[in-house]
Symmetry: C2
Subunit: 249 residues, 2 copies
Amino acid sequence: VLNKTYSAAPHERLIRKLESITDLPEAEREALRELPLTVRMVAADSDLVSEGQRPSECCLLIEGFVCRYKILPDGGRQIFSFHIPGDMPDLQSLHLRVMDHSLGALVPSQVGMIPHSALYRLTERFPKIAAAMWRDTLIDAAIFREWLAGVGRRSAKQRIAHLFCELYVRFRSVGLGEARGFELALTQAEMGDALGLSTVHVNRVLQDLRADKVISTRGRFLQVDDWPGLVAAGDFDPTYLHLDPKVAI
Amino acid sequence: VLNKTYSAAPHERLIRKLESITDLPEAEREALRELPLTVRMVAADSDLVSEGQRPSECCLLIEGFVCRYKILPDGGRQIFSFHIPGDMPDLQSLHLRVMDHSLGALVPSQVGMIPHSALYRLTERFPKIAAAMWRDTLIDAAIFREWLAGVGRRSAKQRIAHLFCELYVRFRSVGLGEARGFELALTQAEMGDALGLSTVHVNRVLQDLRADKVISTRGRFLQVDDWPGLVAAGDFDPTYLHLDPKVAI
DNA sequence: CGTGTTATTGACCAACATCAAACTTAGTGG
DNA sequence: CCACTAAGTTTGATGTTGGTCAATAACACG
């Protein structure tokens, strides 16, 4: 638990996210703004929620970068998803009491904790908010399917390029990142754990992609030099993200 | 479209399924029984819904065995999930208009088509039914995560054993299959497409598992000869299925 | 400036893929 | 009821992607 100060407007982050996947009337937006929320800072590499726990609140990511993952008996780690500000990475805990995986911060992050009770009340009073949140968890599932197809049937190079495409589009769809690229706060080991690859192989494929002139990296900033090329390399089709037409990248 | 006759009680199948993951008061069960439902027969290897479509109804699987899948540009196929009677494999279409994958029958199957409009009405009138269905789609996502961990980090043998464990538990949890095993209506090619393996390799691993005396096959019947052994071979922990304690296998 | 983390490189290896053919089984029509 | 066919399973030989191990080079941070 750290103590930095931030001036982000947590509720607006959430609203912007939900509006990237659906339309919300003003009454619903207003109701979302009244959600009680306790801000908490989380250090890098520490868990927000761990496998086996029964949380009584959901996290809204305000600043930072987090992932969901599971450690397998042989010590291997599988990362299931990455989350950016505006996401509620453990929204599922609202209807799935016990966590079957963990939620960890990849960089120092700021989250807002929202009691389940407040969310229940909101979803009962506003069916449109319930539908938007349900839809969000369904898109979550669609992303898992897409990753599954990647790990099951795509080459290492396609998988890495695909991940970059997905993150770029998701960042842009909520107004984060820049047109030329985005902050990719991931080590190569973490990319490997997400894509089912070894660190060494991730490194080699990354060199390939740089040699192909589709991306370049400056520190943690991933610059997209050739978007059509990256999309082609990753066999990327954003349909599965189910974004609202109004935010089409 | 075939024409066999069946005497299954579709609504009871659905109720039994939902009760395997939650508790439903009698009023809710009664409301479910009134859901309008058009029975349809589907031939093996034909699609119930295809990628790109915008269905206006959901399917309830009454008899048979279906899967969700996607064909990749290089011709490869990734199967995302298998569904058994009582499942609503495309419940997600209620909040995700366009299908990002297809739903196909693996054997001749019987489904009940339920209009989205009827489901919307039901979920608005009965928050408990909405919660149960939302929960069902969240478990769906949990299964994707588990498969992702398998394809990403587990060996071929673990993945196959894990799949058998999952199907056995799911069949049993809704009162299908037998204590000694269950009907596995899958070709080795289909198992490969689900697990990210080649047909040849599936065949070899299957021979291993038979040699290890954990399973045996008689035609399409998969007999579990050593359940603890199969669980160990698959590194299987049923937590992710989020079954209600009352149906614990 | 150290010190620990991350990136990169090289040598070697294994799991699983691919290709091709033979064998089995289950349907189908005569 | 049998021959014929197509689908599925099994086997062998060979190839490749990506893993493992281990060392070195770059960084980032206190």
